[in-house]
């Protein structure tokens, strides 16, 4: 039965933990709070160690809060992170997204910095500053940085944050056996979509949307073991998805993947969703990493990385790239469908459309079409935000304890 306005605006007939108010996707104030309460104190993947192999290799990363960062490997081979902001006149220090810079020199007034964040040269310092200001006063702002969980470089803007391993907890245990060999990035691209970042993370946190993917229906949903895949929730809003044996040869023109992954069963596929917007996706022969970088309530940049093993032969690497591109490349079968779907959500839920609620009501004993992954995320979101996702405009109202059930 179609709904009247009153019906439409009435909360869904589910427990409050099983739906969210769509204003969490559109409200500017909530978005600003998310940057401060969720992203600023969280560990975020900035790049992979294979992108900065040599001393003085650097990589730029725009943190979800908007802070421009430099990731640089020092002369001691340690990776550090600094604001890409000159402490003199606030200019950008490094412009190219990656490179090698023994000295990081601001083009504006030629102040130079080393890979440990020290200022090593101020042009005409004595003439201008006499003894009032010197190099020691002009260091770069350093940001917490750690490498882990497959060689990824993580950053945290909060100087008093808990260690990375504490933030991740046991969420990566399911993937740890497969993260032993050194890996290498072979694919990077960034998609900007007019949708909320949480809607992208939702897509990675529920498999009910496999209905949008012909490839996944044929190779997964219609195959044995699919409905036994289970979600497991972890502290801090993380969740994992168990594996199955994907039947790649069921898709026309496709075949069983000839290159596997050390220790992973043929056709295996594990996923780990990390709060507030990162996903590890190890699918048979390729690891894909998504990092969501919100640009506004209804705009997100998603950085996609594809990784193989550093020890790959050229033939193995070519096969991994082929496997990756078939479904996950910018012209791949699945990525376009996922992005199109969240674009559609952004279009329907943007401010002013009178969208009201989004239902996360499926309960199937935490198996693959259960929406517990999203419920778990929004329970953590509500806890950190001090707002209930189902009633976000009433501050201080928290999600009920059963949220993650």
């Amino acid at each position: 039965m179609a709904k009247t306005a009153a019906d439409w605006n009435a909360p869904p007939k589910f427990p409050a933990s099983h739906y969210v108010d769509s204003r969490i996707y559109t409200d500017q104030q909530i978005f600003a709070e998310e940057m401060d309460k969720l992203f600023k104190p969280s560990w975020i993947i900035a790049c992979h160690e294979s992108e900065i192999v040599n001393a003085f290799d650097y990589r730029l990363f725009t943190h979800p809060t908007g802070v421009p960062l430099i990731l640089v490997r020092g002369d001691d081979m340690k990776v550090r992170s600094f604001y890409n902001i000159c402490p003199h006149r606030g200019n950008t220090i490094l412009y190219d997204p990656a490179g090698n810079a023994k000295r990081m020199t601001c083009i504006f007034h030629q102040w130079s910095f080393d890979a440990r964040g020290n200022c090593i040269d101020i042009s005409r310092a004595e003439q201008g500053y006499q003894d009032r200001f010197c190099k020691e006063d002009a260091g770069l702002r350093e940001v917490k940085c750690d490498i882990g969980f497959g060689g990824f470089v993580w950053v945290n803007l909060d100087d008093s944050c808990a260690p990375l391993k504490d933030y991740i907890g046991g969420a990566m245990d399911i993937l740890s056996p497969y993260m032993v060999e050194p890996m290498e990035v072979f694919h990077f691209n960034r998609a900007i979509v007019e949708t909320n970042y949480k809607l992208w993370h939702d897509t990675n946190s529920e498999f009910y949307h496999d209905f949008v993917h012909y490839f996944n229906r044929i190779t997964g949903m219609m195959q044995p073991g699919y409905y036994e895949r289970k979600y497991t929730a972890f502290p801090n809003g993380h969740a994992t998805v168990g594996s199955m044996n994907i039947q790649y040869d069921k898709y026309e023109g496709s075949k069983e993947r000839s290159v596997g992954w050390p220790g992973l069963a043929p056709g295996g596929w594990y996923m780990v969703d990390l709060f507030p917007g990162m996903t590890y996706n190890l699918r048979t022969s390729v690891l894909r990493i998504d990092t969501a970088i919100p640009l506004g309530p209804n705009k997100v940049a998603i950085e996609f990385r594809g990784l193989g093993l550093k020890s790959d032969t050229p033939q193995q690497r070519a096969q991994r790239i082929f496997d990756h591109n078939t479904i996950w490349g910018p012209f791949g079968r699945n990525l376009h469908e996922d992005l199109l779907a969240v674009h559609g959500q952004g279009r329907a839920m943007r401010e002013g459309t009178d969208s009201r609620y989004v239902i996360h009501g499926r309960e199937e004993n935490s198996t693959i079409h259960d929406e517990v992954g999203m419920r778990h995320f929004y329970a953590e979101w509500s806890r950190r935000m001090g707002r209930a996702a189902y009633d976000p405009m009433r501050e201080g109202r928290r999600e009920p304890a059963r949220a993650a059930a």
Binding site: Y251, E252, G253, N325, H336
Partner: protein, 150 residues
């Protein structure tokens, strides 16, 4: 073989893809046709391959399209043949390519991507045929992407 025949082959290949006439596109291709999309990433400082198919792979890609959920906004390819270097039985052709996407609702057109087409054209048959095409992408940010290659 006249240069104009080779240029027309490039332009007809674009028209066929614009019209989603995939059979027509493949009819312009040699049996040993190979199609690749490549791009350099300044972020990871690596050459990337975004698509790599032989003729059978392209046929499968096209055949499977109706089974997938795709954006239906039409793409229009605007190519300009820059150079044609004939070498007996084949020619190396370099063209500039701009791809525009027109929204179905309202008809607004936006630039979707720019690339260079690097074609090898077979000349030893009756008509020139595409032996290979490398789409050398410049654009790396494609929004929600596309199921139909350039």
């Amino acid at each position: 073989m006249e240069r104009s025949q080779i240029e027309e082959l490039v332009y007809r290949s674009c028209l066929a893809l614009d019209d989603r006439d995939f059979k027509g596109f493949l009819a312009l291709c040699d049996a040993a046709f190979r199609y690749k999309v490549t791009v350099y990433s300044p972020e990871i400082r690596k050459e990337m391959v975004w698509l790599d198919h032989d003729r059978a792979g392209m046929e499968t890609l096209f055949t499977n399209l109706p089974r997938h959920n795709s954006d239906h906004a039409p793409l229009v390819r605007h190519a300009t043949v820059y150079t044609v270097k004939m070498n007996g039985t084949s020619a190396e052709v370099v063209s500039a390519l701009q791809v525009f996407r027109t929204q179905l609702d309202g008809g607004a057109t936006e630039l979707f991507g720019v690339a260079r087409l690097i074609d090898t054209v077979k000349l030893d048959g009756g008509a020139p045929k595409l032996a290979s095409r490398v789409v050398r992408m410049e654009t790396r940010q494609l929004g929600f992407g596309s199921h139909i290659p350039f």
